[in-house]
Amino acid sequence: MSQETNTTIESLATKEYKYGFETEIEYESFPKGLNEDIVRLISERKNEPQWMVEWRLKSHKHWAKLHRSDAEPKWANIKYGPIDYQDISYFSAPKKRPKYNTMEEVDPEIRKTFEKLGIPLQEQMILAGVAVDAVFDSVSVATTFRETLAKSGIIFCSMSDAIREHPDLVRKYLGSVVPYTDNFFASLNSAVFSDGSFAYVPKGVRCPMELSTYFRINAKQTGQFERTLIIAEEGAYVSYLEGCTAPMRDENQLHAAVVELIAHDNATIKYSTIQNWYPGDKEGKGGIYNFVTKRGKCSGKNSKITWTQVETGAAITWKYPGCILQGDNSVGEFYSVAVVNNYQQADTGTKMIHLGENTKSTVISKGISAGHGQNSYRGLVKINKGATDARNFSQCDSLLIGDQCGAHTFPYMEVKNTTARIEHEASTSKIGEDQIFYCKQRGLSTEDAVNMIVNGFCKEVFRELPMEFAVEAQKLLGISLEGSVG
């Protein structure tokens, strides 16, 4: 590519993370480090019942054992220095902790933050009919539309509130899909999770609005440990949107969330994510470590769980939202766009575990690599003995921008039933100079050309996103790849 284009690329590549700023709010943080006392303190500060603190302690004990035996997962295609788990503060919350009924009551500083993020919260609530449970760091500061939802018997609240107000449901389902022993990061989360969202949709109810939460890290050296639990009873339907951006940081920040979904007979859960944590600077310094465990259980027959993710941020992304297809005729879907630029690394994919008869799964993964980014798709399709007539279709496409980046595909298949049908398609392509030139000759700038080509590449995933998210996703992709053509 010519000198001129390269210069444009370089100048564009130096654009700073758009959402890099800090909000000055008073914080209460715990001392750094993790031990039983800290776990107890977290639980105490959140006024949790005894069973909860016991579960946390059990989780901590297990994690400590894993930590001692150096059981942090090492198999992913990612590189990072050792994490000092005793150098992290495990709880932070704005000191003032009032409850609000409307956005106007919310701290102006926090509202300003949302505005800077370009999230017109109030407008969105009114226009799009989105109930937003805004998580600011670890504590929920605003919960809206709760009353409307409550009329249909839907519970949508913070995990902290759910533990206090709906202990039976939480006790029944927490850890039922991702047990605290599941993996190193899930154990850590189970011990110290700060807050998150809880949704319960009763039998036969179709949730009348998209449920949405915006997460945001905003305290220095504070790991964020979100815990989300969504339950759809028989015949229920719910669509949940999760989006996040984080401010610029020098230090690496650990983010280890756990999300559990449970779909009973004939229930459908759609879970959509836009992840835009701080990716680090263009030298690869700083950025969020995003070690996430997300899993859904289609426990009932004819149930369906759809994961849609657009991963543009974080220095390291390690996540495999999966589906356990237990109920007969249940369906699992995974649609993913993962973008890495500069020195970002992503090892992401899905696990589709077929247990029931006639279960179906679809995997569409689009990986985009630019700069020095490394992008890996890692996916498991497992057909168990009892899963007669199970079907899977997987498609993994990689798009390369420039010649310093990498795309890798690691598909795993375990088939124990001869009636299974599995298809796997994969492709790798490169944004060509001829494509860019063609667009430019029709009047488009290099940036617009790249955006257009990339969005075309991701189309199959974007159409799975709710409308307002699809627009945001396209914007994010543009920002993430600014100036990466080479």
Partner: protein, 255 residues
């Protein structure tokens, strides 16, 4: 409208254009002919702004402006259009979306309001008729799975939508059967006007049976070896390119 003076250009130190002089006036149609490897496509691409070519000497003025100083997209917005010899595929991006983005970028530059989806559709349908293009091609990904003829029609269709002041058609006739050739020629003739100029780059004379040029130039070894009226094209068809080359060499020896 367009003035090319002593243009030298090449790739990786390999000179392809060795002093091209060309003047195109408004309302004119020029044909650039020549054997394979004579630099026809290079000339078209250099005028459109392809960055892989290095320009070593000469200048190009377009409507009084220094064309070579402009980026490809700036040239496009100023009204320079090239129909590609090998139209490029863009998976996942619909033809209509692609062209709408281009047209709006050009309109915005010209201080015109951007068109909305409804206005676009009306415009597209009208223009699609000019090249007899199936409307279903509008919603398909750009050039993806198009036949050779469909791709070329799509280029002329884009030209019809973008209404350039200077259109450079790079071997638009190659690979077309006679029916498609006639359709494409009809499209070009419809778009030909007193306000614009068209440069037709071609290897064969046959397109010029339908698109009658005002001027014909023969490009040999990176230079215009001979210019004339439409009769020159017929002469080339009958006698081939060698005699032009021989005469050009003779002139050079005498000079």
């Amino acid at each position: 409208m367009l003035e090319v003076i002593n243009l030298h250009a090449g790739v990786d130190g390999n000179e392809i254009l060795r002093g091209v002089d060309l003047e195109v006036g408004v309302g004119e149609v020029h044909a650039i002919m020549g054997p394979n490897g004579s630099g026809k496509s290079t000339l078209a691409q250099v005028l459109a702004g392809r960055e892989s070519y290095n320009i070593t000497e000469g200048r190009v003025t377009y409507e009084g402006k220094d064309l070579l100083a402009m980026k490809p997209e700036e040239r496009a917005r100023e009204g320079v259009f090239m129909a590609f010899q090998y139209p490029v595929e863009i998976p996942g991006v619909s033809n209509a979306y692609f062209l709408k983005a281009g047209l709006n970028a050009i309109r915005k530059f010209g201080g015109l309001e951007e068109l909305d989806a409804v206005e676009f559709l009306a415009l597209f349908k009208e223009k699609a008729r000019i090249v007899d293009m199936d409307e279903s091609l509008l919603s398909r990904p750009v050039n993806r799975g198009f036949s050779g003829g469909e791709k070329k029609r799509n280029e002329i269709f884009q030209m019809a939508v973008l209404e350039p002041r200077l259109a450079i058609l790079d071997e638009t006739d190659s690979g077309l059967d006679i029916d498609a050739l006639q359709t494409v020629a009809r499209g070009i003739n419809t778009l030909r006007s007193k306000e614009n100029a068209i440069i037709v780059v071609t290897h064969y004379q046959r397109l010029l049976n339908y698109v009658i040029p005002d001027h014909v130039h023969v490009l040999i070894d990176g230079r215009i070896a001979r210019s004339g009226g439409k009769g020159l094209a017929l002469e080339l068809e009958a006698r081939g390119y060698d005699w032009v080359k021989e005469e050009a060499d003779k002139e050079e020896t005498h000079a």
